[in-house]
Homo-oligomer: 342 residues x 4
C-alpha cells in the first residue's frame, strides 16, 4: 500500500475525538445541536474570538458555503470570488443551484485585493440589467495554499465595508492558514474583519464538521431555519459538538494544523535545497513542486499524489498535501528519495 | 436526570460502530464515498435486497428526502404525500425550496392507498395550469408509528406504475416498520415495490447516516452530482460506510429496531391491560397512549416525553418513543408507575 | 359561433388603448419602463391612491404573484392563502418554484379572517423545523367572485401588522371587487391596508398588464432587479404604460369593471326572480347559478360557459363570467332563454 | 428631440400589426395561446422551416432564454456561452436564478467554435465535483452584430451532437442575422442545426414577442408547463399570435430586418469611404465605428447613441443601431454630418 499525499482527509480523526465519543456515548442529549457538547464547544470558540458571534456546526465545506451564501444574498445579488475559489471549481454549481451567480477574478495567488474588485463593481452598474455584487468570498489558506496577512485582510475588509459588500471567509483550512509561519493573522482578527467565516474540521482532524461563525449582527437572524431547510441539521448534533469541543480544548485544532504545515515545510525545504522550483510559494500544508517526470515516476512507486500541471515535456508540477496525521516516516522517506535522485 | 422517551436519537451509537471507527481510524482511504467500507456496505445491502440497485449514503433524512425528490422531478412536477408526511411538517419547506409543490392527503393512519390518490389525479388535469403529480411519498413506519403490509404496498405500487407515478419510501424508521410484529413486508419486497427508498441509520443506532437505494434504472443516472451539489457529499465518506457496514453485518440493523419495538410494545401491553386507550394502534417504537392529566404529571416527574394532543379537560395523548438503546430499567419503572396509578 | 361567458379575457382591448397605441406608435421612447407613458400612468395611480408607492407594470397575474412573493420572502418563509387562492390552484406551482411553501386554509367564501390565520400561526412554532409564515395572500374580488368589505380588510390588516405578517392583495379583478354594489372599499384604502397589491389590466380591458403597487417602504428596495431576473421586464414598456394611462384616465378602469359587474347582476337578478339558487352569493362579474341539466343543455346551444360542479343527478352549478366588453344582446338573449325555460 | 440610434426597440410596431389588432379586436378567442391567430402563425413558421417543430410565443428574450435553458437542463448541468452572451451580461443572473451555472468563453467576435469548447469539456471531468456542460448557447446575430455562416453552424452543430451537447440559438435578432449580406444561413437550416432557437419579434417590428421553436423531439415534452410556471403564459395569447401572423405573412419579418441592416450598412459605407475604422466588421443593424471625440460631440447634438468604448485620448468607438423603422432622413442626415466633418 502506497502512502497517500493526495489530500488531508484520507484518515479518520484525532483519537481524542473517538475517546470522547466513547465516553459520552450513552448520555441522553437534546437533538439538533441543543446538546451540551455543542453549547460548550460554541462557548470555547466565542472565547477564542472574543466575540458573542452566532455559531452553527454543519457537516462539510460545500454545505457551509451554500448555506452562508444563500442565506445572506437576495435573489439578484451575487458573489465575487477568485477564479481559484472552491465554490467556482469544485462544488458542482452548488452556489448557482441556490440561484446566485459567482463573478470570477483571475489571480495567480488565489487572493483578492480591493484593486481586483474595483473594476468588477465598475462593470456592474447597468441597473437592473445586471446582478448586484454583494458578497466577497475569500479562502484562507487558499485553494493554492497561500495565506492572507493581517494587513491584506484589513484592507480588503475596510474596502468591503465602504462598498456595502459582505466578506465571507471559507476556512476549510483555517487552521493551516493561521498557523503558517508567515501568517500574522489570528482567529480573533478574522472574526473582527469578516462578516462570516467558518472553521474547517474535516481537513483538520475531525470526522466531519465545519463551524460557521456569524459575526455581523444583521446576518444572524433565523439562520437555523436555513440549516434545516437545506438538509444540514443533524439530529445527533452531539457528533459535531463533541468533535469541536475536543478540537478547541487546549488549542488542539491549531496544533494539528501546525503539524500538517511543518510536515509540508520539511519536504519544501529539502526540495529547495536541491534547487527545485515551485508553482507557488506556499507556507501551509499544500506544496506544488516542479519535478522531472523521471523523479515523479520514482516517487510514484511509493507514494500517491496528484500530478497537477504539465510544465514542459520533461517537467510537471505535483501537489503534495500533508495532514494532522502525517507521521515523520513517510515524510522522511519521501525526502530521502528526493535527496538520492536530484 | 430524567430518562427521556422523547425520541430515538438521544443517545450516541451502537458500540460496534465506535469500535470499528477506532479499528479503522488510521487507514488511508479514498474520499467522497469511494472508501472500501462504503463499497462493502453497499454490497451487503444489495445482497439483502437481491438487487443491483445504486446506493448512496448521506447524513440525514431531510437531506435524503430533498435529494431524491429534487433529483427525480422536473420543475413542474409535484409530490403526493399523506398530510402527516415528514416532508410536509418537519422539514422547513425543504422540498418546496427545491422548487416542488407537495399535495397533501388527509389520512388518519398516515398511509396512502390508490383510492386516496385517484381524486388528486382527477383534480390535476387542467394542463398546463396545474402542477403534474409524479411522485408518491410514503413512510414506513409512518410518522404515526403505523406500518404498510405487503398487500397494501403491492396495490399502491401497481397503481403507481399504471399511472406513471414514481413511488419513494422514506425509511427513516424502515427497521422499525419491517420488524413490527404485524409486518409481513421485507426489505427485498420494498426494493421490488418502490422506485427509491432509504434505510435510516440515525434513528436506529448510527451517529448519522441514511442509505438511499435507487431501484428504478431510469432514476440512477448522475445521482452523485446531485449529492455534491446539495452539499451532502462527505469528504470522509468512510464515516458513513463504516457505520452501515456494522449495521448490515449479521442483521444488527434489524435487531436494533426489533429491540426498540419490543420495549414500546411492553409499555403498550401494560397500558392496555389497565384499560388505556391509544390515539392510534401502533406496533413500532412509537406509541400514543391517552392518559389522565394526573398520571401524565406523575410520569413527568421521572420521564421526559411529548404531550401530543389534548383530548378533553382531563385526558391527553402522550407520545412515547423507545430506541435501539432503551434498556429494560426505564421501561419497567415506567410500567410500574402505571400499574400503581391506574 | 356561440357567445362565450367562459372568462373575461376572450376579447381584445378597449378601443381607447388601440387608438393610443396608434397615435404614439412612431414616438421614440426609452425602453424598459422608462418611457413617458409609463411614468404618467404611474403618477395617475399614485394620485388615485394618495400615496407615493412604487409602481411596476408587468404582463400577467401569475408573473405578478411570483415576483412579489419571491421578492418579499426569505427562503424559509411561506405564504398563507385561502384554499381557493389562484396561486394554489392555477399557477402550476409558480410560487413553490421560487422556493416557497403555501399554507392553505379552507374557506367557503374564499376570504381570510384573523380567526382563520391564528391556528396556522399556532401550528408553526416548532422552530426551526417548520417554515415561518410571513405573508398573507388575499384576492379581491376573490376567485369565487366574493369581495372584502372595508371592515374585513381593516381587521385583517391590523392583525397582520400585530403579527409581523405582510399582506398582499391579488387584484387581477380589483376593479370588479371595488365596484361591486356591496363594496365599501376604495383603492385608496386598499393602498393603506396592504403592503403590496396589484391592479389587473388583463381581465379588465387591457391586452396585457398588471400594475404592482408597493406601499410598504421596507419592500421597495431593488424590486426592479427581480423583474428583470424573472424575465418580466419588457423592452417596449410603452405597451404597458400606454394601456394603464388610458385605463386610469377618467376612471375608465372602474367603469369597465362596473359594466362587467352590471351585466352579471342582470343575469343574477333574472335567475333569482325565477327561483334559481347559487353556489355563492356574489356581486361581481362571476356568478355560479345552480340550474337543471336540461336548462344547461338548452343554454349550451347558444352559449359557452363552464359547468362548475355537479350538485345532484338533475342539477349542476355553472359559472358565468361577464366582461368589460359584454354587450346587452347576449345578456338579454341568455335571460330570455331562462325566462322561457324555468 | 434628437433622433435615437441607441437601440432597435424605441418605437412601437409595424402598422400591419396595429391594423390586425384593430380588425380582430372584438373576436372572442380561446385564451393562453389556443387562439386561431397563434395556431395560424405557428403553422406559417413551420412551413418556413419545413419542420413540425413545437412552437411557443412568449413576451421577451430573457424570458425565452430562462425558459428554454431551465427546461432542458437537469440541476447539475450547465451552459457554455461566449463571454459576450446576453445571458451572461444583461439578464441579471436570470439563468443562475433557475439554478444553472454558465461557463464563459472569451471570444472577440462573440461566436463559438468546436475548438473553443473542447478545453471546457476537458476541464470538467472531475465527476461529480464539477457541473456537467450540456448546452451550448449561441446568438445570431450576436451581441456584437456578427453572424454565423452555414459552415460554421454546421461544424458547431455536428460537434455538439458528437459530444451529447444541446445547441440553443438566441434569435433576438435572428432576422438581422439571416438577412445580413454575408449570411448564407437560412431559417430552415437553423431549424435543422439547432435543438432549440427563437425568433425575436421585439427587436424586429413587434410590440412584444419571441417565438420559441423546439426542434429536438426529446425536448418537447411538457414545455407548456414551464411557460405557465415561470409566469410567461399570457391569458390573451392572441396578442402574440396576431403579431407573429403579420410578421410571418409574405416574409415581412425578413423585410424589416433587411431594412434595418441596409440603413446601418449605408452609414458603414459612408464611414468607410472617409477612412473610419470599426471595432468589429459587422453586417447587421449594429455598427461600432471608431470616431474622433470631436466628431462624436458634433453627432451628439442631433443624435442619441451609446459611446461604447474609449480607444485613446482622442478616439472612441460608438454603437449605432438601426431598426425596422429607421427612415432614410436620419440616416442621410447622419451621413451628411460625417461627410462634412471628416
Amino acid at each position: 500500500m502506497k502512502f497517500s499525499f493526495k489530500n488531508d482527509y484520507s484518515e479518520g480523526c484525532h483519537l481524542n475525538i473517538l475517546t470522547a465519543l466513547l465516553n459520552h456515548n450513552s448520555d441522553q442529549q437534546a437533538g439538533y445541536g441543543e446538546d451540551q457538547y455543542s453549547l460548550e464547544a460554541k462557548n470555547l470558540i466565542r472565547q477564542k474570538i472574543k466575540s458573542d458571534s452566532d455559531i452553527y456546526f454543519v457537516s462539510g465545506g460545500t454545505q457551509a458555503n451554500l448555506l452562508v451564501i444563500s442565506s445572506i444574498l437576495k435573489p439578484y445579488q451575487c458573489v465575487i470570488s477568485a477564479a481559484t475559489g472552491h465554490i467556482l471549481n469544485n462544488e458542482t454549481g452548488a452556489i448557482e443551484a441556490t440561484g446566485h451567480k459567482i463573478l470570477s477574478i483571475d489571480k495567480e495567488d488565489g487572493k483578492l485585493t480591493p484593486e481586483d474588485i474595483i473594476p468588477v463593481l465598475e462593470n456592474h452598474k447597468n441597473i437592473p440589467h445586471q446582478v448586484m455584487p454583494k458578497l466577497v468570498y475569500v479562502s484562507n489558506s487558499t485553494e493554492l495554499g497561500t495565506v492572507y496577512t493581517l494587513t491584506e485582510l484589513e484592507k480588503l475588509s475596510a474596502f468591503c465595508k465602504e462598498n456595502h459588500l459582505y466578506i465571507f471567509m471559507d476556512g476549510a483550512r483555517m487552521g493551516h492558514g493561521l498557523t503558517a509561519e508567515i501568517s500574522d493573522l489570528t482567529l480573533e482578527k478574522v472574526a473582527q474583519l469578516t462578516d462570516v467565516f467558518y472553521l474547517g474540521g474535516t481537513k483538520n482532524g475531525a470526522l466531519i464538521g465545519e463551524a460557521i461563525v456569524i459575526n455581523n449582527n444583521e446576518l444572524r437572524q433565523d439562520f437555523a431555519f436555513n440549516i434545516k431547510q437545506r438538509g444540514a441539521l443533524l439530529a445527533k448534533g452531539r457528533l459535531l459538538g463533541i468533535q469541536f469541543l475536543e478540537l478547541m480544548k487546549e488549542d488542539l485544532y491549531f496544533e494539528l494544523a501546525a503539524h500538517a504545515n511543518r510536515q509540508a515545510m520539511k519536504i519544501k525545504k529539502a526540495l529547495k535545497e536541491r534547487g527545485a522550483k515551485f508553482l507557488s510559494d506556499t507556507y501551509t500544508n499544500q506544496i506544488f513542486p516542479i519535478l522531472s517526470n523521471s523523479l515523479i515516476e520514482k516517487l510514484s512507486e511509493k507514494f500517491e499524489f496528484y500530478v497537477w500541471k504539465k510544465i514542459d515535456d520533461d517537467f510537471s508540477a505535483i501537489r503534495i498535501i500533508t495532514s494532522w496525521n502525517t507521521a515523520d516516516e513517510p515524510v522522511d522517506e519521501f525526502i530521502e528519495i528526493i535527496n538520492n535522485e536530484i
